[in-house]
């Protein structure tokens, strides 16, 4: 188990002690602020993830994943109910070396469509500050290709299964700083005699408005900094009704990020993710790093 403790410990101490605050939405963590969209928005980003490791039996593996999701939030009830549709385009490249032989597998395509609703159930506003909480629930549909020959389940575009997600998000903003936390549980179902393990996602984000120091009049250009902790606990997969030993585990990332808002309806952002905890079952590829760059646009 790889653990780098100092970063998360400092982050959690600072987040719990600091007053809470205001800029834009966090990059890798969800937000409980669902106002401001006033119709529809669009978000997309380019995320590159690299993994490597010892797969046991003398095998070494490498995996690179490019993921480009297309995310469309749409306001159903003003500041109360938000619909979010999401579909990813992914490209996966895996290389496994076993002595003198090398196996390479590549796959790309659109993955499964996710439909989600966010409902604001708590809001407390005060001058230049706000605390909000949202319940979020959704469904992933098996729209991506899941039966391409010769590819293991993890390299297919889609899972072939209907998966169900529910969770909570809380956000608190005051003046220059913001704090968000979320927790989501995803129940996964079986498809093609295979079932991915259920997952628990947990995230914390601390944001700080670097520029301007004093936000006098809207709109103004804005530069925000973020430090996030993003974790995933996954249960073991099942194949043919049997648990897969080399699957599941807990991974926690420290994710510094930067966000620039040049005008009222558009922002660009980037984040780098470093694993600080990887406690994986059996022999699996471990994440070396992930990098993300993208934008958000308020359409109408």
């Amino acid at each position: 188990m790889k653990v780098r403790i100092l970063g998360p410990t400092f982050f959690i101490t600072f987040a719990l002690s600091a007053p809470a605050f205001s800029q834009g939405p966090p990059i890798n963590t969800d937000t409980a602020v669902i106002s401001g969209i006033e119709g529809a928005a669009f978000r997309s980003f380019f995320k590159y993830t690299e993994k490597s490791g010892d797969l046991g039996g003398g095998r070494d593996g490498e995996l690179s994943v490019v993921s480009i999701p297309f995310i469309l939030p749409y306001e159903i009830l003003p500041n109360k109910l938000l619909f979010v549709g999401k579909i990813p385009y992914t490209e996966k490249r895996r290389k496994v070396e076993n002595g003198s032989s090398t196996e390479r597998l590549t796959n790309s395509g659109f993955g499964d469509l996710s439909l989600n609703l966010k409902y604001l159930f708590y809001q407390k506003d005060a001058p230049r500050q706000s605390t909000r909480a949202v319940f979020s629930g959704g469904l992933k549909l098996p729209t991506g290709e899941d039966d391409e020959r010769g590819l293991p389940p993890a390299l297919q575009d889609g899972s072939g299964s209907y998966d169900y997600t529910a969770g909570f998000i809380i956000s608190r903003f005051k003046e220059r700083t913001g704090f968000s936390a979320d927790v989501f549980y995803t129940l996964k179902t079986e498809a093609n005699d295979f079932e991915f393990g259920d997952t628990l996602n947990y995230d914390l984000a601390l944001g700080y408005r670097l520029i301007p120091a004093v936000y006098e009049t809207y709109p103004a250009k804005q530069l925000n900094l973020y430090l996030e902790l993003n974790g995933t606990y996954a249960r073991k997969d099942e194949a043919g009704g049997q648990k897969v030993a080399d699957s599941g585990g807990n991974t926690l990332f420290l994710s510094p990020g930067i966000q620039f808002i040049p005008w009222r309806t558009f922002l660009v952002e980037a984040s780098f993710q470093i694993p600080v905890l990887q406690d994986l079952n059996g022999d699996q590829l471990e994440t070396d790093y992930a990098v993300l760059a993208g934008f958000r646009w308020l359409i109408f």
């Binding site: 939405p25 602020v33 106002s35 001058p127 006098e216 709109p219 804005q222 009222r264 309806t265």
Partner: protein, 106 residues
């Protein structure tokens, strides 16, 4: 003579009804200042901007993030309805407080 004046007034009201109404209802432009709680996310203020722009009679507005206030200039006081204004701020995702209405003198 008096009859002639009366007939002239009646004819003027019939021919120029707007003028008669304007004399009765026009009160001039007003500045409405509202404190807005929860205005802590400038990117979220876009929704508030759209709600204000969609209100009839709005001539100009300014959102003061640091002060937590919004100033709206209505072309005429008749366009300002307190309940509709408060609901617009709430629909934008914020909490209105302390609404102040001031006549703007030319």
């Amino acid at each position: 003579m008096r009859t002639l004046v009366a007939i002239s007034i009646i004819l003027a009201i019939i021919v120029f009804p707007g003028a008669a109404l304007a004399v009765e209802e026009a009160t001039g432009p007003v500045k409405v200042t509202v404190g807005v709680d929860g205005l802590a996310c400038p990117f979220c203020a876009y929704g508030l901007e759209k709600k204000i722009k969609n209100m009839e009679g709005v001539e100009d507005f300014t959102i003061f993030i640091e002060r937590g206030k919004v100033e709206v200039i209505f072309k005429d006081k008749k366009f300002f309805e307190r309940e509709r204004f408060e609901q617009a701020v709430k629909d934008a995702g914020f909490t209105p407080r302390d609404i102040k209405v001031e006549d703007i003198k030319d």
